[in-house]
Subunit: 344 residues, 2 copies
């Protein structure tokens, strides 16, 4: 890690269901890490609303500069609308500060479509990259697996998937120190010929030019394989990726609520649960979605981190820490270099 | 239920990872239900392999007639290959017996693609139905939710989804006694305009002709909603449906193995787990995939039930019981009548 440099993170204080409280409280939780990484904050939002929060959290106040913005991107705003009329929103201004080199990264819990649209408009993509992709880390059997795209591009082609594989492998190489990243394509079967045509074309492409890419291609993976650590990077179109991601979330929530429901009904089970608490805590730590909060808009020529929309302070803190980790690893310049070297 | 009639179920004894043992042992487990429903069995498979199993399970022997077939459809056989050369397989012969009115339903744990291909070829679809769909029941907060298509049609159009909605709603009406079935379309957002064009076209179609269909349309649902009992029927193309289904399976398995892993590491947790056993059993019963084993090929003009390929005897028993339930509810004639009435 490079701690010698100082960094600036632009934070959209108004994005997300619990903003601006969760944002400022989150920055307070992240404070010591931010200080260690020499990070200061540009805080974009309604200064009247932010003032009392900065009194409450003096540490945040010490490393932040508030930049007033009168408007907010709503959860149901359409990207096309914000692109035309959103220049006074906190999200626009935060992204603009990265474009203007006033900040090195931007973090927002706001509307994903607008964040992607404005990032493309204001910062633009890395040269050669056709479509940026929303990328997240998922816990898996032996560590973490990166998956992209998770919703930016509902329809994709062969070139998009190749670029996703490329970007995803640089991502896990830099962040997780995977020296030989492995890549799989999400499909509904592992045999060649299964599923959609463009997936099979990409499969053939990868197999035919094995040495061309800076990753090892492992073939198709299925929904049952997502957590099996079969590959470091799973590539997919944004529609299927989003279906998979939200299905995971739905399944986890369902199991949680059913377990709670059954335990509550039995005194014996409650006693048992108390015995199990330390183990439960370990389990929760591994599965913790808060810890892995933060999706990256890979392919944007600057670091854009999307926090979950309903992030609480702890979650938001992790998204900001995530951004500062990637900054200290010089992620974007690493990525640009490899993409350029591979003539994409 | 109509227990006065007698029924014949054709069983592919050779399909699935654990066949023929799991099939015959499964029929033994299902025996009392089958007798109650006046069901007898046509058992298609290698008579030499089946003979000792029928000695071991005399109850099954008492209600079954073995029809020898020398060949087996393999897990990786392509439907096109089996359609050309599969007429001596147990699967072909079992399906053919439904076509020839020698059996009222067929159950197989074999290759899904081949089962669908042969069912279309030999039994054909209900008049008006363009594409049959693989349909399963998933446990959800307040009961069960039907989802289709789960993999037969990788790409779909508006008409397919309308027909899936229609068939799915007849299915839950008949099987789960839902008098006013509700339907949702799987998408990556709930607002109109989100996701793929044909999904939005179908959404508009349903909204514009509310009274035309024998179900209540509830709009888009997301992966996070699958278990929330928001709707009785979720319709989707086979690619997304299969991704969702296998992602659910992967998530459940991952959580199971992680929980086991944590419990094993702590004596306290093991003690706690013992206290919780009765509650755990209740939870498992609700989540039990064995209990809900059996996907229906909806749209085929006959009852075709697909058991999970790695079904054990208990699972396979449930698939056969599932078929006999649907028979006693006159499901196929109910379906045909409603489809015809709606001029599809």
């Amino acid at each position: 890690m490079d701690y010698s440099k100082s960094w600036v993170i632009a934070v959209d204080a108004m994005g997300g269901d619990n903003a601006p409280y969760s944002v400022v409280a989150g920055l307070d939780i992240a404070y010591s890490v931010l200080v260690k990484h020499n990070v200061s904050i540009l805080l974009f939002g309604d200064s009247l609303k932010l003032a009392p929060l900065l009194v409450k959290f003096p540490n945040v106040n010490a490393i932040s500069k508030v930049i007033h913005s009168s408007e907010v991107v709503a959860g149901d705003d359409k990207p096309s609308h914000i692109i035309r009329r959103g220049r006074n929103t906190s999200m626009w201004k935060a992204i603009e500060s990265v474009r203007n080199k006033e900040a090195d990264a931007v973090v927002s819990a706001g509307n994903t479509g607008c964040l992607m649209g404005l990032s493309k408009l204001l910062i633009s993509t890395i040269e050669g990259i056709k479509r940026p992709a929303i990328t997240s880390l998922l816990p898996s059997q032996n560590g973490l697996t990166a998956m992209l795209d998770l919703g930016a591009n509902t329809e994709c082609d062969e070139q998009n998937l190749v670029q996703f594989a490329m970007m995803g492998s640089v991502f896990v190489k830099t962040l997780l120190n995977k020296t030989n990243p492995t890549v799989g394509i999400l499909n509904i079967g592992t045999e060649a010929g299964k599923g959609l045509t463009y997936l099979n074309n990409t499969d053939t492409l990868f197999k035919e030019s094995k040495n061309k890419y800076p990753f090892e291609y492992k073939g198709f993976v299925e929904g049952t394989d997502i957590f099996k650590s079969k590959v470091d990077v799973i590539v997919t179109d944004g529609f299927s990726g989003n279906i998979a991601l939200k299905t995971i979330e739905g399944t986890v929530n369902f199991i949680k609520s059913e377990i709670k429901h059954v335990i509550k009904k039995s005194l014996l089970a409650i006693v048992g649960y108390l015995f199990m608490l330390p183990a439960v805590r370990k389990f929760k730590a591994k599965m913790d979605t808060k810890k892995h909060n933060g999706a990256i808009l890979l392919g944007i020529n600057g670091l854009v981190v999307k926090s979950h929309g309903n992030a609480d302070a702890v979650s938001f803190a992790n998204a900001v820490i995530y951004a500062s980790n990637l900054l200290s690893k010089n992620f974007i310049s690493e990525m640009t270099e490899i993409i350029t070297k591979n003539n994409m």
